[in-house]
């Protein structure tokens, strides 16, 4: 229906109505090692895109290029219809622009990366108050509601180091939600967790998917990816080897490599 508009590259303004994110011909090298070899993808608002692939296939690198935590070697990144201006070396051309775009992308890290010198509630209000300029009281109320939502209201005044990994990751999700992100970026949010803590984090993410959050989700949890995603991308050595709806990618994989991969993680 809106497919034609979403892929109209010459008119980003028209595309922005539906398109949340677009990556075009993304390349990234670390020295001589080319990790991303031309990745193209896009997601509409409300899409949940799962990114799967073997270790070292470039999943994290791709996610980190989207908010320029890594500097792409070349390519285009378009967030909500706005192309991020790049210098010749791939670094963002405008600090203002990249900061504004980043403050709309809610990143959740494998290692949580909460600020250890701040309590949970302070972690959640930090960006709204000190980057987005939301009044303190308002940010606080919203943060409490978010902590409540991820089941951590009674831990609001606790420092991250005193919490379990699952609790820390749920708090990190609340921190990302606090900026009301246009896209959430998850980089293996459950990989650092003890098995018994994985479920509580997936429950929160499942909730977000159900309420229509746009998400890019790098994960090794295949069952979960199949369950929550609208679209699955399989990366192999820096290229998209296969992609499609989860039933197709998981149920009827075409590529030999994907078949192998799915077998190896089953």
């Amino acid at each position: 229906m809106t497919e034609a508009i979403a892929t109209d590259r010459n008119d980003p303004a028209a595309a922005s109505a539906e398109e949340a994110i677009r990556v075009e011909d993304l390349h990234k090298s670390f020295g001589n090692l080319e990790v991303l070899k031309g990745v193209n993808m896009s997601a509409k608002k409300g899409d949940v895109v799962a990114i799967i692939g073997g270790s070292g296939s470039g999943k994290s690198t791709m996610l980190r290029c989207i908010n320029f935590l890594e500097t792409p070697t070349s390519g285009r990144i378009v967030i909500g219809g706005e192309e991020i201006a790049m210098r010749a070396d791939g670094s963002p051309a405008s600090r203002k622009q990249i900061e504004r775009v980043r403050s709309r992308l809610g990143m959740v890290f494998q290692a949580f990366n909460l600020w250890t010198h701040r309590t949970l509630i302070e972690n959640v209000t930090e960006v709204p108050v000190h980057v987005l300029g939301v009044p303190k009281a308002e940010a606080h109320d919203r943060a409490m509601a978010l902590l409540e939502r991820v089941g951590l209201a009674e831990k609001a005044a606790t420092y991250p180091a005193f919490l379990s990994g699952g609790q820390q990751q749920r708090a990190a999700i609340a921190r990302a939600l606090a900026i009301d992100p246009s896209v959430m970026l998850f980089d293996e949010p459950t990989s650092a967790l003890d098995p018994e803590l994985v479920g509580e984090v997936l429950t929160v993410i499942r909730d977000l998917a159900a309420e229509g959050r746009t998400m890019l989700l790098v994960t090794h949890e295949m069952k979960f990816a199949r369950e929550v995603s609208d679209h699955v991308i399989y990366l192999f050595e820096g290229r998209i080897e296969e992609q499609g709806p989860p039933e197709a990618v998981f149920g009827a994989p075409k590529s030999e490599r994907l078949k192998q991969f799915l077998k190896s993680v089953a």
Binding site: L69, V101, F109, H117, Y159
Partner: protein, 241 residues
């Protein structure tokens, strides 16, 4: 004993007042130099970690030279070079000789020495911050200066405090070296009192006690600061563990 009390009494002919004034001057300079050194150190650490090659080279020379040359020699060099330069500049602009305040000179000289050590302490502390905390700040669009204030400085604090506490104690003691350029801090006051009264033992013991008091008090203050800086971290000895 009575004689000792008389010698140390706060009003003349006792010398206690002079000693306390000297102590106050020492603390004034130590505080100023420590603060100045921290500023240099913060700039130096950031420069060493994130600066361009030229800046990094300059900073490497600075920290190496300052830490290699004996402090007494440095103080003499910095003091005479510093005052000379200021006077030359003043002369060139048509002013006469400038009277340079001892406190300002002392802070300048010791501050530069402290700055070299502070640079290394803070550089190490910043490097000890788990990289993810900095990445999280970047990922959420925090501008560099805000990140410094909201993330880098508070997060490095617990790593820096023990080193900085040492540096502060060195600052208080290094003020004694300023005696060589005739600044009337505690050591010089003590020497004068001792020489005038020939009660060397009494006065140097008194001065030693004053320095010790400063150290003990500082220890308490820094223990508090450290506790505050480590507030988000579980202790080494966990209760019940």
């Amino acid at each position: 004993m009575e004689q000792v009390i008389e010698l140390l009494s706060l009003s003349p002919p006792g010398w206690g007042g002079n000693l306390l004034r000297g102590l106050l001057h020492s603390l004034e300079i130590a505080l100023g130099a420590f603060g100045f050194g921290l500023l240099i150190g913060l700039g130096g650490a950031i420069g060493k970690l994130y600066g361009g090659p030229v800046l990094r080279d300059i900073l490497a020379v600075y920290t190496t030279v300052v830490r290699a040359v004996p402090e007494l020699v440095l103080i003499l060099i910095l003091y005479y070079v510093g005052t000379d330069l200021i006077n030359k500049a003043a002369g060139a602009m048509g002013y006469g000789r400038v009277e340079i305040s001892g406190v300002a000179a002392g802070i300048w000289v010791l501050g530069i020495v402290q700055g070299a050590y502070a640079t290394e302490i803070l550089r190490g502390a910043i490097k000890a911050i788990p990289i993810g905390q900095i990445e999280a700040a970047r990922a959420f669009g925090m501008p560099p200066l805000k990140m410094l204030r909201r993330v880098t400085i508070p997060a490095m604090m617990s790593f820096a405090i023990p080193g900085l506490a040492n540096l502060w104690l060195i600052a208080t003691k290094d003020t004694a070296l300023l005696a060589v350029v005739g600044f009337n801090e505690l050591t010089l006051e003590t020497r004068q009192a001792a020489a005038s009264t020939r009660a060397y033992f009494t006065f140097f013991l008194a001065a030693g006690a004053l320095y010790l008091m400063v150290t003990l008090l500082s220890g308490r203050v820094f223990a508090r600061i450290e506790k505050w800086a480590r507030k988000g971290q579980p202790g080494h000895r966990r209760a019940g563990a």
